[in-house]
């Protein structure tokens, strides 16, 4: 369900396409379209968490949840939309939360 269209609406699509095209490797398939520069959508590399009782989140908010080795974490889908990728770890399990 990841399309980036919310960022495309920011405009300057043509300019960004031109300025980033020259940096692309030659082995990218032709179906690949560079729409924004890499880094325009900031991934989360060092996620921070709060407890459930301290979270300001509505009951109806959709979340992506993980439960690993007895530890549960929730990522709001609307936050994920803005960052696309959360680089996270539980214990010695390193994973990328995307949806």
């Amino acid at each position: 369900m990841i399309q980036l269209q919310h960022l495309i609406s920011a405009g300057a699509l043509f300019l960004l396409t031109v300025t980033t095209a020259c940096a692309q490797p030659r082995d990218l398939p032709r179906e690949f379209e560079q729409l924004l520069p890499r880094g325009a959508i900031a991934a989360i590399r060092h996620p921070s968490f709060v407890s459930a009782k301290d979270a300001d989140i509505s009951d109806k908010e959709w979340i992506l949840g993980v439960h690993i080795d007895g530890e549960a974490r929730a990522y709001s889908l609307t936050l994920l939309n803005s960052h696309e990728v959360v680089n996270d770890a539980v214990g010695d399990k390193n994973f990328a939360a995307v949806w």
């Binding site: 082995d27 968490f49 709060v50 459930a52 989140i57 992506l64 549960a72 709001s76 390193n94």
Partner: protein, 221 residues
């Protein structure tokens, strides 16, 4: 949800800013390889042609359901916020794909919600509407059981399980044949003595997204 431990290293990802067939492409910090989110496969760079390991540990639900299930859960917080702005609302209501794209073929509507997965290299998909209350699909080397709650929201995760010996419905309950494990809809898991059917990963997405990236998909009916 993908494993970041890869080829002996822990790698970090971010959005490349690009799409392939309307689906997100990530890049890793370590080699700048490009990774298609829909397949987990690297499409360019040092790791081209290799795949990330999908971890079937994620499930989507509303916060009220999650916190009931896991009261001690931690919640992602970004700059003091635990939820963001719903910028996708219009897209999800629109019958067209991103930038007017249509599905690869007309077996399903462009924006038909589906659950899709790969098994032994083959792409397989089923419409969400076929999975409400549970459905069994027989494959060449076993069966999958796919479950969605009746009236489930588009965003709610499909629960998927694989068993080499298959499933059956007994007295109104879904059961794994070999182990006798029974499916508990509330926890969306099989429970019983022994090793119950394993959960498998997959994508809840739209038909056009999946079919454009996997044109040879077998559609479960």
């Amino acid at each position: 949800m993908y494993d970041r431990d890869y080829s002996g290293k822990t790698i970090n990802f971010e959005a490349s800013g690009g799409l392939i067939n309307s689906s997100l492409v990530m890049q890793d910090d370590e080699t700048n390889s490009y990774w298609a989110i829909m397949s987990g496969e690297s499409i360019a760079g040092k790791f081209k042609g290799t795949k990330l390991t999908e971890l079937p540990v994620g499930e989507k639900m509303q916060w009220k359901e999650w916190v009931k299930k896991y009261p001690n859960t931690q919640v992602l917080s970004v700059q003091g916020k635990e939820q963001g702005f719903d910028s996708y609302r219009r897209y999800f209501k629109d019958s067209q794909g991103f930038r007017g794209q249509s599905a690869h073929d007309s077996r399903l509507k462009t924006k038909e919600p589906i659950f899709a997965f790969k098994h032994n290299g083959n792409a397989i998909a089923a419409a969400h509407r076929k999975l409400e209350g549970g459905a069994i699909f027989v494959l060449a080397d076993g069966s999958v059981f796919l479950y969605r709650r009746k009236g489930a929201d588009l965003f709610e995760s499909t629960s998927a399980f694989l068993s080499p010996t298959g499933f059956e419905k007994k007295d109104g309950t879904w059961v794994e044949k070999e182990t006798g494990c029974s499916f508990d809809a509330a926890s969306a898991a099989f429970a019983g003595d022994g090793e119950c059917a394993a959960r498998i990963g997959g994508f809840d997405t739209f038909w056009y997204n999946w079919s454009l990236n996997n044109p040879d998909t077998k559609l479960l009916k």
